[in-house]
């Protein structure tokens, strides 16, 4: 087959792992794979580089959103190849690209004790985009999840942080019973406001512990 990203022909890779562990076959070539930068360590909430809680997360701890998130992780840096990837997946709507990180997400989320809750997409936006890029990442990785939130039609893009903080009613509880532990999942972590707005609604409705996971740290 050809690499999903660069279209170069890939030799068929059959390894004993792929046979015995039923590992997901890679849909991108080695070169494209190695152009992504996995994140090790960093901030215990958002994986920003440095030791301990990053400046951005510390800032959040001085607001009413303090203490909402117990821990978290982002898997990859937002380097130019990752920007290209996300552009093609999300904005060019190349839905099959969800397969690129399926094996990685499966590995990270397998055996997860918390209930995985994806950051939802607004209904109108969903009709327009034709798929939810966050749900699809999980679907492709065969990770079970539960929607607990709905989203109102407000674009976060282009607003300053203080304006974003004012957007109280971005997410609403959909009424399903609250599990004790939740892992909030999103594709891209930028300022952390999406995660905190969602976490606030969850905690107000009875969730005790919240972890966050994002594929990419911008």
């Amino acid at each position: 087959m050809n690499c999903y990203l660069c279209d170069r022909d890939m030799p068929l890779q059959v390894s004993w792992r792929s046979i015995f562990f039923n590992e997901l076959e890679s849909v991108i070539c080695h070169r494209c794979r190695s152009s992504f930068e996995p994140i090790a360590g960093g901030c215990p909430i958002c994986s920003a580089s440095g030791d301990g809680l990053c400046q951005n997360c510390c800032q959040w701890e001085t607001t009413e959103y303090a203490g909402l998130i117990d821990s978290g992780k982002c898997l990859y840096r937002y380097n130019p190849p990752m920007k290209d990837f996300l552009h093609q997946y999300k904005f060019l709507k190349d839905a099959v690209l969800s397969e690129v990180f399926a094996a990685m997400l499966k590995e990270v989320l397998d055996g997860q004790k918390s209930i995985v809750v994806p950051i939802p997409m607004n209904e109108n936006k969903l009709k327009e985009r034709t798929f939810s890029q966050v749900d699809r990442l999980l679907d492709t990785a065969s990770v079970p999840y539960l929607h607990l939130l709905g989203k109102n039609e407000v674009g976060l893009g282009g607003k300053s942080k203080s304006e974003r903080m004012a957007l109280e009613d971005v997410f609403w509880w959909n009424g399903k019973p609250a599990p004790e532990k939740v892992l909030l999942f999103d594709d891209l972590y930028t300022t952390g406001s999406t995660m905190r707005l969602a976490a606030k609604v969850l905690k107000e409705n009875g969730v005790k512990e919240i972890k966050v996971l994002a594929l990419i740290r911008a």
Partner: protein, 442 residues
């Protein structure tokens, strides 16, 4: 309505992404002047790029339809087409009044160019396909000016297609100067929006996906170049974009055997416009060069060649078979001279780097095959590393050799094929170049 007609005549466009309002388009559809068709046909073929391989036409669960839809990955960069997207085109006979054209050119054609120019014009009149087989530096663009002008004067719509954006960018200002009264659209990935009805369209072959039944004359420049020569979808796009009986003019310095066989009317120009012979490549062995690079060392013979060019202050291009090798090599070459640059197909600064080389601000450039054609640098010296690698077929090697000696002030130039064993394609390239210098006799 006139604007919609000008925009959509001969074009297939995504219904939801036009420069017009939804109401304007809805009205044009309901009165029958614009027709609508599904983006993916019942036979699971993309109606825009005509792709139908199951690897490229893929299913997904579509939230807009609440069902499985198919979409085309092949032409996705132009805005995704899925089963539930609609394509629109102008449905009525054209009422666009003919433009007046003028021809401003005070250059002159050599007798060989002149003859080829007349032969092309004669083929167009008789609606025959035609091949211009002209060596690198023969001046093939200029000889197309008179036949293009003749076609425009007769009210015909002309397309000049080239496989690469670089070539489109190079041709556009030249043609705009020569035909100052003609509406010319220049189309490539992310090109700025153009308005009005273009009698002359200069486009990458990819952009032809967006045309159907549009052109009376189709000219395919660099008809042997990647991706055109390897991508059957682009060949289908050329056929789809032109009117059924419209002739195609192919222009190439290295036509494939198929093309030579397929097109019966051919003009040959085996001499450069300045009359000097083509530089003949010299073969030099460079055993296990990849091992040297892997060990962090430039192979001695190559290092000596580059040192000499730097010392003589002659600009140079070194072609490499893979991006990986360029990445290894550039670090080592920059230790020799920090000004040396590397370019490849995804390099956004490619144009600037080539410009710097032309202006002699940097000594040389390491490159993939992306620079094999379309660039002219006075006095440039050329080397190929790994000329035995399959990516360098005879056509690519001839194009690369054709970078040297193009300017009338420096009609010679050295062309070295460094190799790890001479292969057939190298021999073939050299034999052909020698034969061109003898006027085409093998």
């Amino acid at each position: 309505m006139k604007q919609i007609e000008e925009f959509l005549t001969g074009r297939v466009w995504l219904r939801n992404f036009t420069p017009f309002t939804k109401e304007q388009i809805d009205k044009a559809v309901s009165d029958g002047s614009v027709s609508v068709s599904p983006g993916i046909t019942d036979g699971r073929q993309c109606a825009r790029c005509l792709e139908k391989s199951t690897k490229k036409i893929v299913p997904f669960f579509c939230a807009a339809c609440n069902a499985i839809c198919y979409y085309c990955r092949h032409c996705i960069k132009m805005g995704r087409i899925s089963s539930c997207t609609e394509l629109i085109t102008w449905a009525l006979p054209s009422t666009i009044s003919p433009q007046s054209h003028s021809f401003h050119w005070n250059g002159s054609l050599t007798p060989l160019q002149q003859r080829a120019s007349q032969e092309v014009q004669a083929s167009l009149l008789q609606k025959n396909d035609h091949l211009v087989y002209a060596v690198c530096g023969a001046g093939k663009t200029e000889l197309l000016f008179p036949p293009i002008f003749d076609a425009l004067k007769k009210g015909k719509r002309v397309c000049l297609a080239a496989p690469r954006t670089d070539v489109v960018l190079e041709l556009t200002p030249r043609l705009r100067n020569v035909f100052p009264n003609t509406t010319i659209h220049s189309l490539y990935g992310n090109s700025p929006e153009e308005s009005g009805f273009a009698s002359l369209v200069i486009a990458t072959t990819h952009q032809l996906y967006r045309f159907e039944d549009a052109f009376d004359v189709m000219i395919v420049d660099e008809a042997d170049a990647f991706p055109y020569s390897y991508d059957p979808a682009l060949k289908r796009a050329v056929i789809k974009a032109k009117k059924k009986d419209a002739p195609i003019v192919y222009v190439s310095a290295t036509p494939s055997a198929d093309l030579l066989k397929q097109v019966s009317h051919t003009s040959r120009i085996f001499q450069r416009f300045h009359g000097h012979p083509l530089p003949v490549p010299e073969f030099r062995s460079l055993w296990r060069y990849d091992k040297d690079f892997a060990k962090g060392k430039i192979p001695a013979k190559l290092a000596a060649w580059v040192d000499e060019k730097i010392q003589k202050d002659e600009p140079f291009l070194v072609f490499f078979p893979t991006i990986e090798l360029i990445e290894q090599a550039i670090v080592l070459f920059q230790k020799k001279h920090p000004g040396i640059q590397a370019v490849h197909s995804k390099d956004e600064d490619r144009k600037e780097k080539v410009m710097k080389l032309r202006e002699r601000k940097i000594p040389g450039v390491l490159t993939s095959t992306i620079l094999e054609r379309g660039i002219t640098i006075p006095n440039v010296q050329v080397a190929v590393v790994g000329a035995d690698q399959p990516i360098f077929d005879a056509a690519a090697l001839i194009q690369i050799a054709g970078r040297a000696g193009r300017s009338i002030d420096y009609p010679d130039g050295s062309v070295i094929f460094f190799h790890n064993g001479i292969v057939r394609q190298m021999d073939k390239a050299k034999k052909l170049i020698v034969s061109y210098n003898r006027g085409g006799a093998l």
